[in-house]
Structure formats: C-alpha cells, structure tokens
C-alpha cells in the first residue's frame, strides 16, 4: 500500500499545526463559531447531538495493521472505546472533545493518517473497491489512481470552496462494489486502445434529496490526461454549479439541467483549453512511483484446494456458512478474500470496539499481509488470506463477535447514525436496523432468502444509501413522531437502479412487519434461485404494494 514520503509527512504535519492554531484561536475567543465552523468542517469536525464528531479519512478504504491499532488507541484514549465505519470508508469518533482533537491528529499523523477534507464543500476522501488488488478481473488496482487523485485534490487551491461537497469513487473493473454511478465523479479503469489503463468517467450521480445515476461522459480517457480531464470537470462545475440553493448545488443538478451531452461538450471544450496550456500535471515517473506501492504482496505458490479448509468445512457448519457468504474468490490460487461482518445481530452497523480493532489489526498482520479494507457497506475486508488460514482466522473473529456469516444477507444493512447521534436527523435508523436483524436472526432463513440489501437513512440526506437499497428505508418526521418510508428495487452496483417508493410510510411498530411482508412476497414469487433484486425487476412494485397495503 502507499507509504508517505518526506513530503507527504511534512504536509500532514503542517496541517495539524495549522488546525491546532485554529482550535486555539477558537478557544481563546479570537474566532466566533460562525468563523470557526468552516475551518473545523474542512478538517472533519462536526457538532452532533451529544458532542463533537471527528471523521478520519481512510483513503480508498485501505488500512494497515498499525493504522488500525492507532484507530483503536484513539478510541480508547480520547473517545468512548469504539469507532464507527462509514459508507465513505472512513471512521468516525462520536465523543471527542474539541481540546483533544489536535492531539488526536498528531497521533494519526504518526501512522500517515489525517482528517483532511473529510467534510466541507471540497473534494472528499476518494473511495474505491474493497477487493482492489485481489479481484480476478481487475484491469488495474484502482488505488493507484485513487492515490493520484488524493494527492491532486489535497488542498487544491481552486476547488476548496465548491458549490457543494464532491465525492469520487474509483473501481478497477466493470463489476462495481464502489457504487461509482452514485458519486459526483465515478471512474472505471478500462483498457485503452493502446492496451494500457484508461478511464471511463461518469459524472453527476448521487443520492440525497434528488437521487440520480451518473452519466458516462469521458470514454477511455488516457492515463496521462486524467488529471487535466478532472480539472476541466471541476472547473465547469465550480463556475456553473448552483450556489443559491443548497439542495440544487451538487454537480448532478448541473448535469441534469444542462443535459449529459452539453455537460460533455463543455467539459471537452475546457479540457482542450487546459491541455493547450500545457500544465504538467502528472509526470510519468510519478505514476510509476505510485504504481510501485501497489504491487502484489509476496504470495506463496499454493495449490488451489486446501485440505485444512476442507476439513474445517466438514466439521463446522457455521464456518461453512461464513465461507459461503463472507469469502470471495481471489485472483491468486490458494488465496481468498475474507470479509468481516460489522453487522452482528443486535449490534450497531459499522461500529467496532477498540478491542475488536486491535484484534483485526493483529489478524491482518498474521493472515493478510498487514492490510485491511473498509467497505462502503460498512464491513471490513482482509484481502489476501491463504485458504489454509481461513478457519483459524474465522475462529479468532468468531470469538470476538466478528464471525457472523451474513455478508449481503438480510441482516447486513447500511445504516446511517440517524437521530441517535446526528443533528440533521428526522428519525432513528439504528434501532430499526436492529429490530429487522432480530426478526431475521435465524441463519437458515437468512441463507434461504439470499442476497438482500437493506439500507436505512435517518433523513433525506441519504447517508444510509436508501435510494440504492434492494429495500430502502427512510426515516421521516411527522409532527415529532418517527415514520419510515419504504422503497424497493435500488441497486448500487453496475446494474445501477434507484429504488421506488412503494407507498405511505409506516410507524416504528409496523416497519419490521412491512419488511417481512416484502420478503414473503418475494419468496412466493421467486423463480429458481433468483435474488430479491432479480425478482423485483421481473415482477415490479405492484405485487409488493398490494400485499403491504392490503390490510390497511
């Protein structure tokens, strides 16, 4: 994985010093809250319901063992012993005191981490595929390009006060685990005409109040042109994106109002002018330097099958279930990708205790070349595990409450913090997730239902991705009471679709039954081994709607 050199280190340290002085000015009364707010937001410090919240960047979701240990240390020393992994592949601490934040940033800097641009109307942490470097059909590791974009976008002087926040996602192959079509800019590495990596660039996707699927405007943009092309998009957006209305300020609204064709034309025109200026964006040697950091780890030559694995599968049914759902094929024979569910029934989606973080850090040092990935679905991934090691890995996870075999099943939800923490929320999300998980706790039933993605947001901002849930649940407030609106048929992968609202909202007491009705309707209609989303796409909303509202 990428390692800082002297320059990256120095810049992060200077940023900590700068932020420390901003905090000192605030505490000394030299800055009012109005003046301080934009400064703290540029460094990921929010004020939530109970306390400040600090969002720490996990660039493209990649962490090393020592970094994970540091996250655990911070949780213990400055927070309340846990952290929350988010859909942006970041981690959030919910209880830091403002006075401690400079010290936290110092600690983070020692392991090459920071909170730079984790909020504010700037280019945010770049997200990517959690299987990067390990998936079979990958054209190239998307983290090479994510890192290049990270550097280019860090303290970009022109694009730090954009109309609104700006999110990038990069994937190295067509299969999309990074939801690139729901980002302001989504990038897919493709093979260029010269056989070298090039980029399909999607623009204008997003969720929030007005969900939209991004448009492909740049086809096979060559590697040497990538940054100039992105700079052109950013400039068109910076100059023309709406600034009069918070809800119309994202680039998706600009693309929608111009039309994708016109957006493409404007970007190409600007791109031509940018390249004409001949600004050197990215020396070829720099691409090679960064590429070198993402070379394959020192794999052993192993047989495809593992006797140890086969023996364990025969012996432990729960482990067998885990392998079925949580383990994915690896591009190297004898290896596997292991996913750690952060969705134990009764738990809080995406939360991990400091002890769990330490354990995972130790396990990856032992079993996965010291790398961990955070997924946008709020789970963790160990990308390079020998098949021989899967069983001991799982046993250690299981003992710490991290061995649930439920990845992508009906108890694996994306859940935003909702009204339990978030100052913008209309309703709670976490308790709804917990109740649904409890109702479907039976593993056999979960496995029988198969892949079913439930995504829950506590308000229209859609941090819980409800627009792209197979079942999406949105908390709404009706005169101080929480209600939940259900939508169906969304999908964040390469088959991208937006979920459709199915009908009037349900109360907190009704919502779990409603989910069960949806599931029963699906099971009745399912043909062969259709997944929920396939059945939904075949039969549409009507049968679900009928069942849901029949008794009302």
């Amino acid at each position: 994985m990428y390692r800082y050199d002297e320059f990256d280190h120095k810049l992060v340290q200077e940023r900590v010093t700068q932020f420390r002085s901003q905090v000192a000015r605030r505490l000394a009364g030299e800055l009012t809250e109005d003046q301080f707010k934009p400064l703290r937001l540029m460094n990921g410090v929010y004020l939530q319901l109970h306390a400040y919240m600090l969002r720490v960047a996990v660039p493209y979701g990649t962490l090393s063992g020592p970094q994970m240990h540091m996250l655990a240390h911070i949780a213990r020393k400055y927070d309340k012993g846990y952290g929350h992994f988010t859909t942006r592949q970041n981690i959030q601490y919910n209880w830091p005191s403002l006075e401690d934040i400079p010290a936290i940033l110092d600690d983070l800097a020692t392991v090459e981490m920071h909170a730079i641009q984790t909020s504010g109307n700037c280019i945010r942490n770049v997200t990517s595929d959690q299987y990067a470097g390990a998936a079979a059909d990958e054209i190239e590791d998307p983290r090479i390009w994510s890192e290049i974009i990270r550097q280019w976008s860090t303290f970009h002087p022109e694009f730090t006060f954009l109309p609104r926040k700006f999110k990038f996602a990069v994937t190295g192959m067509h299969t999309d685990r990074a939801a690139i079509r729901f980002h302001d800019i989504g990038i897919e590495v493709v093979k260029g005409t010269d056989g070298k990596p090039a980029f399909d660039v999607y623009v204008g996707g997003g969720q929030g109040r007005t969900p939209m699927i991004a448009h492909l405007i740049g086809k096979a943009v060559p590697a040497g042109d990538l940054i100039a092309y992105l700079e052109a998009i950013m400039r068109v957006y910076n100059m023309n994106g709406r600034r009069d209305n918070l809800y119309k300020a994202r680039i998706k609204i600009l693309v929608h109002s111009l039309g994708a064709e016109e957006m493409k034309r404007q970007v190409e025109e600007e791109f031509a002018l940018v390249t004409e200026q001949g600004i050197p964006f990215l020396p070829a040697a720099e691409i090679e330097r960064i590429r070198a950091y993402f070379q394959a780890p020192a794999y052993e030559t192993l047989p495809d099958t593992s006797d140890a694995l086969d023996a364990a599968l025969a012996e432990n049914r729960r482990f067998g279930d885990w392998v079925k759902t949580n383990v994915a094929p690896h591009k190297v024979t004898g290896y596997a990708i292991a996913n750690i569910s952060l969705k134990p029934v009764g738990g809080i989606a995406g939360d991990a205790s400091a002890d769990q973080m330490d354990l995972i850090a130790d396990l990856t040092t032992k079993f996965s070349f010291d790398e961990i990935r955070v997924t946008h679905e709020q789970n963790l991934t160990l990308p390079f595990v020998r098949k021989d090691d899967l069983y001991p890995l799982w046993q250690a996870l299981e003992a710490a409450g991290l061995g649930d075999p439920n990845l992508a099943l009906i108890t694996d939800h994306i859940v935003c913090p909702g009204l339990d923490y978030c100052a913008l929320a209309n309703a709670r999300s976490i308790p709804i997730s917990q109740k649904i998980a409890e109702r479907f706790a039976d593993l056999d039933r979960q496995h029988d239902i198969g892949e079913l993605k439930i995504k829950i947001s506590g308000c229209i901002n859609a941090c819980g991705h409800h627009h792209v849930g197979h079942i999406g649940i949105l908390g709404v407030d009706k005169k101080g009471t929480e209600f939940y609106q259900v939508s169906l048929g969304g999908s964040a992968d390469e088959t991208s679709s937006l979920a459709e609202i199915v009908g009037p909202a349900f109360t907190e007491d009704e919502i779990v039954d409603a989910v069960e009705t949806i599931v029963e309707t699906y099971l009745d209609a399912r043909e062969n081994d259709e997944r929920f989303i396939d059945t939904y796409r075949r039969i549409g909303k009507a049968p679900f709607k009928e069942k849901l509202y029949a008794t009302h």
Binding site: L27, G29, L47, A425, P431, G480
Partner: protein, 107 residues
C-alpha cells in the same frame, strides 16, 4: 435540517452545546449552564421564552456554549420532559447505547 424549535410552543427551556467538549447543557435559573435538564429554567409564553433565550446569549460571546436555542418541554409534577424525540435523545444519550451519554450516569 430537522425542525427542532417550535415557535408556538408555550413551555420552553434553553439548551446548547458546550464549546470545549460539545456536551449538551441547559440554561439554569441562576444564569449558568447545567448538564442536567432538571436544573433548567423553564419559561411560559412567547415573551418570557424570548427573554430566557436572550439572557442565555452572553454565554456565546463568553466562549462557553454554541448556538443556544429554545425547545418545547412539559412539566409534570416538577419533572421537566422534552416534547420531541430529538430532545429526549439529547437529554439522555443514544437509545441504542444506554451505557453512553447522560443516561450512563443515571444508571
């Protein structure tokens, strides 16, 4: 943004977050800030509520609290109860982690 102030509500108290650590605080009759809702000063009617909020404002320039606002409460046999789910959660802590927030101290 969730609606958390209700201009027509009759009985209200003033809350804010403390500057140094962001903790939830309530404005008291003594003119200072308490971590506990039971200590808060309650006002009735539009005028008195506005006065209460105004008397809490100096704490902003004194760097004690951030963004004080009025919120609706009911007073039942001396117990002050927030009207909205939001303020109930701010008063107690996350509903899914009873070991955290102010409720942890009560337990």
């Amino acid at each position: 943004m969730a609606q958390h102030t209700n201009k027509r509500a009759t009985t209200q108290a003033v809350t804010a977050n403390r500057l140094t650590d962001g903790d939830v605080v309530y404005f008291t009759a003594a003119g200072d800030w308490s971590l506990w809702l039971k200590d808060s000063q309650v006002a009735d009617g539009k005028e008195d509520c506005a006065k209460l909020l105004a008397s809490a404002q100096p704490a902003v320039s004194a760097q004690l609290v951030i963004d004080p606002y009025l919120f609706e409460v009911t007073v039942n046999e001396g117990e002050i109860i927030p009207a909205s789910v939001r303020e109930k959660i701010r008063m107690a802590g996350p509903t899914i982690r009873l070991d955290l927030g102010k409720q942890a101290a009560n337990a």
